[in-house]
């Protein structure tokens, strides 16, 4: 497999084939992160497009990409948080209250319950949980990515799982799941 950095160098010369390889490699993760962070498909797609187009523009501008995945994820996270801050103008993300959501196993499919549950928890917890659960980052990597300590990451993930477990308990204790 060609290294990300080598591909990024080729992208800087306008090589669309190299860009295509990187795009196919990371598009699912970036889109998933955006969608689950924002809980809105249209906004998530906008952010997703913006992330990759800006990445291409940065490459063409000669910016050296040492860690393509980290660059893309940081860009996606920054934009998602900006969107969330815009929608919660008067409250910091730390203080965004958890939304009430009650799961009724008989009314919707499981994936909808999971997405709604994720949308209900604090964005900071959600962010750490997504990076750990979906992207496979270790606590240290997440700490580095979020520029916080290991313990904060550990705490956020614990709180996220605790909140999700609480919301999803009717579903998780359903034997049919």
């Amino acid at each position: 497999m060609i290294e990300d950095q080598a591909l990024a160098e080729r992208v800087s010369a306008g090589d669309h084939a190299a860009f295509s390889l990187l795009f196919e490699r990371y598009k699912a993760g970036i889109y998933r992160f955006c969608l689950l962070m924002l809980s809105d498909e249209a906004v998530a797609e906008d952010v997703y497009q913006e992330v990759f187009i800006n990445f291409y523009r940065a490459c063409r501008a000669g910016q050296v990409m040492h860690n393509v995945r980290g660059y893309l994820l940081t860009a996606a996270r920054t934009r998602c948080l900006n969107v969330l801050r815009t929608s919660n103008r008067h409250v910091s993300l730390e203080d965004v209250p958890e939304r009430a959501y009650e799961v009724d196993p008989a009314t919707a499919d499981t994936n909808a319950h999971l997405r709604n549950a994720l949308a209900a928890i604090n964005p900071n917890y959600r962010e750490a949980f997504l990076l750990c659960e979906f992207e496979g980052y270790s606590y240290d990597e997440i700490a580095k990515q979020l520029n916080v300590t290991h313990d904060i990451v550990k705490n956020r993930i614990y709180r996220a799982k605790q909140a999700l477990q609480k919301i999803l308990r009717p579903l998780l204790r359903d034997d049919s799941m």
Binding site: Y31, F52, I157, Y158, L164, L172
Partner: protein, 439 residues
Amino acid sequence: MNIHEQITALLDGELHDETQVAELLHVLAVAPEKRLLLMEQVKMGRSFGTLGAGLAPSRSADAAIWAGIGAVDAMTPSPVPPPAPLPPSPSLAFWQRPGVAALAGVLLIGLGTAIGYLVSGKTVATSAIAARKVDTVVISRQPGETRFAGGSPEEITLLRDSLVDTRSRYATLASANGHLLGEIARLKSHAAATPSFAVSSAPRRAGRSTPDGAEMVPATTIPALAAPLATRVLPRASAMRMSASVNIATAPISRLSSANSANPMDALRAGDERKGWMIGIRNNFRLSLPRIYGVPAQSNTFTDREIIGSLDGGMLGLRSPLRFGAAFGGTQFSQVLHTNTGGAALDTIIEQSPTFLYGRGFIAPQLVNSENFGASVEFGGGGTSIGPFATLGLDAEVRMANGFSGDFGLSSWFLWSQFRGQTITSTNLNAHVGVSLWF
């Protein structure tokens, strides 16, 4: 750290203390409500895994990204390509140096001409020997053939008698012809003097009407005289031709001074890429003319091979897409030799020459020069032991791999030779296939 935190850390691979792990496993073993927490987390992790696998961006979102990078390209100036790296070794190979290449090209052309000239030069010595041999030519008889014995006095006498007879009949024909011409002149003058004379438009056979209406054909017409001549003379020559299997490998032939000169074509399309040197081998499938019929063990179709090399004109400083080449090999020609002009025993010999060596040079303007295909015209000439020849042909090459090509083409080779003052020409029509290496 409470049990819930420990379970979370354990499932995320973040619980490294063995004592803590052992304590947690003990608690999970003895406390069903704690095990239930663990099972909920495992189930939740599995559910989110399933959720993540099913999320994918729409096609329209991907298309918008590609459109976006197209717009970025349009706004971003093309980066200046870095200069091509220099070759690792600045010194060219010996044969690639311009001076050496030009010299070698000239030598290559000279070599082709020289081979032909040197081989051809031997004919001065061999012609004298051959001239003696042709007078004592051996005629091999066919089974049951008794009429002609090569070089015997009876045959010579018979042929001389035939010649005298032929001359006599020729004199008779000339006399009859003069008589007829006089009669025609007389009739014309009579027609001019008689205004009422009319000529029927219907075709009429020349002749005179008898009183009873029958038509009498004149006895002195040319066909009446010529017919017996044809039946009496021609069989002799054809009989000799059919019965003679003549080996005149060293027939008295001298080289003509005329030589082919090639005229390179102008205004040819310039190729994108030129190879410097080519060396190859060709297999020729030849049809030799005139064709020979009925002579045992002699065939007009045969194959032979030649080794060929060429040099691009660009290496000699030429701009037009020309190649200069030389080749040598061995071939044969069919020949028709007339011996009756000097009163020799044989009047006509048709023979297939033995295989002789030749050398030739050529100039080949390129007609087509694409990545995988090339075609060129080949003008050239060379020499053999029996005379010079000129060549004109088409060659096409299919470039199968870098430095390797397959060749095929058509050509005509035109040979001049001499026999007792006669100029004899022969032609070989050729198709060839071959392989070439380019470097």
